[in-house]
Symmetry: C3
Subunit: 255 residues, 3 copies
């Protein structure tokens, strides 16, 4: 009975679990070891004509309940979503993207490896996120510089950049490698590598290497201490990225 | 089998498509050419006694998956919602209202024609929105001036007003025709026709006609350039509204 | 047919209504008179090993549609949720917690009696909320002081504290009894009993007893006027709490 919601044309790997009532459309390729929760829609039709309608959920992915993933997107491996997530068409992500509950990736986005979005993160259409990008809850990435208009100027977040909670990344903003926006920042313009910005005026507050939690003595950039949430195979890349961000402290205008 | 979730008492027009598992209650009138996605609840019972329990979804409406629309509301035609939308009871909207994913209209609202709400927009109970109002992602319209209290003082957004992302519209605020709140504004008090406001102190920044995107040369108000997202029949009204907003620049305190 | 989604091992009280398609897992204890909406998941498996996997929904609870409640949590009585709510594992709440639509309680939280969360409220893991706490829409409680890190420093909100809309409560913040954060506040540090704070710099603005709505003459703290939304049995406690908060005005640094 459950099977009539799963298209016979969908390509489904081994050891795949698909939850109660979940709908899988025909243009879907699901890798080995994928788990999909209840009440999901996988390969939801897009309203546009797409050159490639295939939705690829790479091996080891886990999509939690009530999520909707459109056709025409590609997730290399181990995509992990919370509940009630929406991902629109033509998004391409690398390995092990994590997307928190109630988040929305609006389509046409490019995302690297091991990037983490927390809950209620809204990624505007066309955004570019590198690898090891970390975005906290309730952050929005806007793309229209003069709303409403037809101008599309999505932001770019380079490798290892961090956006803390309740911040907004404004259209056209560029966060260079390892830059850091504190909670409640309106991120505008180009933020140099490793730079810290804060507040509604996006004021500069030194370099990420100067951020320290006094009570615990933990020091940023996070690549020094917070690698436990990443798979073993990513550790070398994290170490190299951390070293590059530290080096940016005394190179040019990153300080 | 699917039919036992659709009440036989519901009035359903021609060429209506209703998604997998969606529940349609008995007090619903669905117009011709309506599409409803999967896992929706249409005509959800209200906890209050309603004078008129009918939910009318006018012709050409499209309600996307996982949405909940309560009984006792009326949408004139072509309502379009994203996914995971919630609309409570006793809301009356005109033609072609669009409501983005994860948005919530809390009931007792009045909404004109061709108004657009993006994602995660929270419209407090009793709000009044005119026609051609445009509200970006993560905007909230509050209605309680001294929370928590029994005082209900919902905001009013007149025709053609624009609220950019991550702004909050405070209780009792009145945005006059064509006024514009930049991203991250706490909108308070009465904003004159065409006025631009910005920031946590809702500071005045001139008139919407002075807003220009330098790179593209595009100028506001948006009625000059962004009409492609509206149906043909609305163009005359948009043109007239744009002219009125431009005229407000040199009339009284709107500048 | 519907029954194969409800585990025969679940303990279900009298007069319980369970909606269309809703999934009830085996480790669930549902009290008398509980109502659960459509498309819910009750007792969702946690990824951690839990000492006690039981989810208890006390008598009179009402969980609205599309909500997900994890195993290993306890709600004493009359939990009431909106639609699309997510509650993670190991949360313990007292009587009559209300959680608005699209809200997310991230697990390991302690919550007292009669606390109210509005829509889109994100309660970070490990947060402690007292009784009669009131949190408006789009408020987030953060727990990581140096994101991303392994440090967990969730906030504490004592009895009768109020957080208005679009505010963020920062990691480690302590809101003492009856303190009040205006809309758009970044709440940091320790807020004395009954103190009012406001804005991105969390500036002090006197005592909650000085807050008045000029138009209606209604005065805070809310225990003086807004008791109608609480059940009869809570009135005595509300009165005592209001008196204590009023007394804090002239006691020490609460003013």
């Amino acid at each position: 009975m459950a099977d009539n919601r799963i298209s016979p044309a969908a390509r489904i790997g081994r050891d795949v679990r698909i939850g109660t009532q979940t709908v899988v459309h025909d243009n879907v390729a699901i890798g080995d070891g994928v788990t999909i929760g209840d009440f999901c829609i996988i390969g939801h039709p897009a309203s546009d004509e797409l050159a490639d309608r295939t939705l690829t959920l790479g091996p080891g992915s886990h999509v939690r309940s009530h999520s909707v993933v459109y056709e025409g997107s590609h997730f290399e491996s181990r995509l992990e979503t919370g509940h009630h997530v929406l991902i629109r068409e033509r998004t391409r992500a690398g390995h092990n993207l994590r997307v928190g509950s109630f988040s929305d990736i609006e389509g046409d986005c490019r995302i690297g490896d091991y990037t983490r979005l927390h809950g209620y993160v809204h990624v505007g259409r066309g955004s570019e996120l590198g690898s090891f990008v970390w975005i906290a809850a309730l952050v929005t990435l806007f793309n229209d510089p003069l709303p409403p208009s037809e101008i599309l100027r999505p932001p770019v977040l380079e490798d290892g950049s961090v956006v803390c909670g309740s911040s907004s990344v404004m259209p056209g903003a560029i966060m260079r490698r390892g830059s850091f926006a504190a909670a409640g920042t309106l991120v505008r313009g180009e933020i140099p590598p490793g730079a810290v910005v804060e507040g509604p005026d996006c004021e500069r507050r030194g370099h990420v290497a100067t951020l320290v939690d006094m009570e615990s003595g933990v020091r940023h950039p996070w690549m020094r201490h917070d690698t436990v949430h990443f798979p073993e195979e990513a550790r070398d890349r994290i170490e190299r990225l951390g070293a590059e961000i530290l080096a940016s402290r005394f190179a040019g205008d990153g300080a």
